[in-house]
Point group: C2
Chain length 332, copies 2
Amino acid sequence: MTKTILLNQRPVGTPTLSDFKLISTEEELQPQEGEMILETTYISVDPYLRGRMSDAKSYIPPFELGKPITSGVVAKVVDSKNDQFKEGEFVSGMLEWKTSQISTGEGLLKIDGNKAPLSAYLGILGMTGLTAYLGLTQIGKPKAGETLVVSGAAGAVGSVVGQIGKILGLKVVGIAGTDEKVAMLESDFGFDVAINYNSTEDMTAALKKACPNGIDIYFDNVGGPISDAVLFNINRFARMIICGAISVYNNTELPKSISVQPFLIKNSALMQGFIVSNYADKFPEAIEQLATWLAEGKLSYTETIVEGFESTPQAFLDLFKGKNKGKMIVKA
Amino acid sequence: MTKTILLNQRPVGTPTLSDFKLISTEEELQPQEGEMILETTYISVDPYLRGRMSDAKSYIPPFELGKPITSGVVAKVVDSKNDQFKEGEFVSGMLEWKTSQISTGEGLLKIDGNKAPLSAYLGILGMTGLTAYLGLTQIGKPKAGETLVVSGAAGAVGSVVGQIGKILGLKVVGIAGTDEKVAMLESDFGFDVAINYNSTEDMTAALKKACPNGIDIYFDNVGGPISDAVLFNINRFARMIICGAISVYNNTELPKSISVQPFLIKNSALMQGFIVSNYADKFPEAIEQLATWLAEGKLSYTETIVEGFESTPQAFLDLFKGKNKGKMIVKA
């Protein structure tokens, strides 16, 4: 029996469980020559999937109604008529939310569970790590001694950004939403300072205090009022990596904020939207660098692993309530 | 007798005549060894001066209360004890709003009225032309066939940006505030299309119609709602040169607009504040290129010349009412 999770309806505002539908099919999968059967091991749930659930124009096409959702998945080859992949091997790549599926192997990467835990290939050695590393280095162009602020700092990407910032010699300030996350950033991930935005009345003042030399680089995962507060503290030639805007993804009206343009002019500052897939040519060197730092014990990561394929929609919804620490993954 | 225009008080919102003060002094100027007396010929009035009249932190220090305003000035050497400058020569540079003043020549450029009209050195061969050329090429990185939108297109910088865009093979769309300016952009400056934002109800739709292939480069002189409308029409990898925000310079409250961050993410787009002085190392090659195009008849420019040193404050105020066509200059 194969279970599949479909997009049942397009979410309006915050997604709900009824936007998804779980179906079961009994038909047996039959791989043709060059194909294989994959059994899902881990599923990555990510805030950006919210964008694909709407039908607005974006950098990747929207999910189709009544069709399976796709995201990063780690799967095991259980039956193969493809010379490149052997039974028992593991792969990662963009796959459907199904307990098992047929694949030609196109776009999939073979992964080695002996080098790192399999789930790491959805996180620190996958899109999460690549997003953190390439966003920070390609747009942020960090120089040792500069000050980096990371929003959504306890999230999958944010916690890696901060650690890479420390490796590269930056002063690193993180912003997160609970005291527990703040404590984790400072004790487990080596952030110099972390700020709980939920218990801070004046974020502009708090950032000013945490960044006495001003902000040179801002890795933005959230948008909204937190990013507004950052603008008041940026330095000349500041670089702002706009990687996510989770605070406004579920807005049904166009979000308003302070006009950024006067801040950009005053500071000759840069703001650039970052999508990791634009930097695919740099993936090999980036993965090598991340794997090296991981092996040297310079990078650590946190996962929130939810059990059970059926829990995938709820795990996705929980992202918007900040219930995850680090990368949110479902174990199928 | 020397006349001087001082900053009398810091403007609140839109500047008024009472923010300035004209004084006359009788004392005769006596140049020391290495100095010279300059007699003001032309004064440049520019929107950015508004920023220096406030005491907010910015990229250049604010004007001091009770002290002369400074801006770009063309002046004649009338008495010189400096070997580098002879009587009868002309110079341009940042000088005080005075009918005559003493200078060491530091930071001044000798200019040649036979090569181009003297006032051109405050415009197309001065900061105006440099801003247009370097902003468009250094941040905009134009490729022939792309679509460029210019706001404040009938202004000093905007009209040059559009012409350079045409020279570089772009489709050029201008936005201005009167039918007369729109006609001038299309007939005198070669813009492909110009839009009057004052008589256009839906700027987003008008831009969509004018730019059927979307917007690749936006040269922003105005900020505010016009820039919001541009965001809805940008292409993937769009570059937005944030050069001015005249629509919000006089706001006493922080201006709000739609959040730009989601647009930047969706389109992997870039927004960068541009200040021409950051590119001083590129001035010589830029002036050479502009002078060549000017000599070849590929660039034309418009000036609004106001007569009389005493009219300088009013000429400055008129910038914010859009009374100028092209570069606004006072003939002293």
